[in-house]
């Protein structure tokens, strides 16, 4: 009797997880179809500002800059939900990696993975990427990167324009990124995305970070870390806490429901008082 009841609880939990996962995928799909160029518009705003600085022009708040500011404010207050839910490039990555996962499951094979330590170091590339792009903007030579960028290739393919003559470098980069996305989850977001680099540098309010009650964990359970697409460890305050893209998978997978937005310290104090 007791066993049966436990099973239903577990089943309920699993169903809840499935529904939450479906909701996230649904939101991602909706953003992909309705606002597929949000990420490039927002980053265009940043580039526009730095181009204006390079030319000594007055900074203008155009639609791109507005998009960027809105996304930044949301990120500051709530965390990087844009990355986890709204960015078309992230969604594309999730879809491509989803295919890889499905193949691995069906064929019962495991594709090689980049070791976690290497991943953490590779995540620094995106800051260099951001720096290089902004420098080219200030110097007024950003057109060279723009016409060869994989983002440009992506928007062209979205427009069903397959004449790759003028921008084949961008097209090849895009294809390489797709291959990367296939093997490593959130390959572009983790290692290359210049917009993600900006978000990582923003002072995201600490209460938007997911926290783990480590004391209550099952010994040796690393479910949340294994599930995390950006290799975040959730162990207290860390430099990399802004890597979190709020996909919420750690929250779903935790068998004890240990991960939440609540402050661990406050919880401890409450206990002490009790």
């Amino acid at each position: 009797m007791a066993e049966k009841k436990q099973l239903t609880v577990a089943q309920k939990k699993q169903r809840k997880r499935k529904i939450q996962n479906l909701v996230r995928r649904g939101i991602q799909l909706a953003f992909f179809l309705l606002l597929p160029s949000l990420f490039s518009e927002a980053f265009n705003g940043v580039k526009g500002i730095f181009r204006a600085v390079g030319q000594g022009e007055v900074l203008a708040v155009n639609d791109f800059v507005k998009t960027f500011i809105i996304i930044c404010v949301i990120t500051l207050v709530c965390g990087r939900y844009f990355c986890g839910y709204a960015c078309a490039f992230g969604t594309l990555g999730d879809a491509v990696h989803g295919i890889a996962k499905w193949i691995q499951k069906k064929l019962k094979v495991r594709f090689p993975k980049i070791p976690e330590k290497v991943c953490i170091h590779l995540q620094i590339i995106k800051y260099i990427n951001l720096l290089v792009i902004l420098i080219t903007c200030v110097l007024g030579v950003s057109q060279v990167i723009e016409s060869n960028s994989p983002w440009q290739a992506f928007s062209r393919i979205r427009m069903l324009d397959f004449k790759i003559a003028g921008y084949w470098i961008g097209f090849v980069c895009f294809m390489l990124i797709i291959v990367g996305m296939f093997f490593e989850e959130r390959f572009f977001c983790q290692f290359l995305c210049p917009l993600g680099a900006i978000f990582s540098l923003l002072p995201i309010l600490p209460w938007a970070n997911l926290k783990r009650k480590e004391g209550q964990c099952i010994k040796g359970c690393n479910a949340c870390q294994k599930q995390c697409p950006v290799h975040h460890k959730l162990n207290g305050i860390s430099v990399r806490s802004n890597e979190c893209i709020q996909c919420g998978r750690c929250k779903l997978v935790c068998p004890k429901g240990n991960i939440s937005l609540r402050n661990v310290k406050q919880e401890k104090e409450k206990k002490d008082i009790a």
Partner: protein, 149 residues
């Protein structure tokens, strides 16, 4: 308090105040530049007026009066503009259709008709950040003017 949060906060404030200071300076430069441009425009307008009068004396016009449509490729597809000419002056530039342009980029490129009318020529700078759409408008105006000859 989280020291990484404080460090990021300081960094952010630094960047924002840097941009703020820059904006003040840039506005000063802009003012000086506008003064200069005004003078140049006055001279150019005067020259154009004289040219026109001379042409009128010879009774030959550069363009025929009327509305002309021109088409050129933008980012995603064709952009069609309509150019209205009255006694050798471009009096209106309208984008008739640009179905396959991304709306945000197109709205930036909508600066082009004004630039073209101000310069009275299709040879103007494109809008940075919306290069493809504004080049499309520019070339479409060029095509329309070809017809008006």
């Amino acid at each position: 308090m989280n020291r990484y949060f404080i460090a990021r906060m300081l960094g952010c404030i630094l960047v924002l105040s840097g941009l703020f200071v820059y904006q003040g300076k840039a506005q000063e430069w802009q003012k000086a530049k506008e003064e200069n441009q005004k003078q140049v425009a006055e001279v150019e307008n005067y020259n154009r007026q004289i040219e026109k009068e001379q042409r009128a004396k010879k009774e030959e016009a550069l363009y025929k009066d009327g509305s002309y449509e021109g088409t050129a490729k933008g980012f995603g597809g064709d952009i069609v503009v309509s150019v209205t000419i009255q006694s050798d002056t471009i009096t209106a530039v309208e984008v008739v259709s640009a179905k396959k342009e991304d709306s945000a980029y197109l709205s930036m490129a909508m600066e082009m008709p004004k630039r073209i009318m101000d310069a009275q020529s299709y040879e103007v700078d494109t809008v940075t950040g919306a290069t493809y759409s504004s080049t499309g408008i520019k070339n479409a105006v060029k095509a329309a003017l070809e017809q008006a000859k």
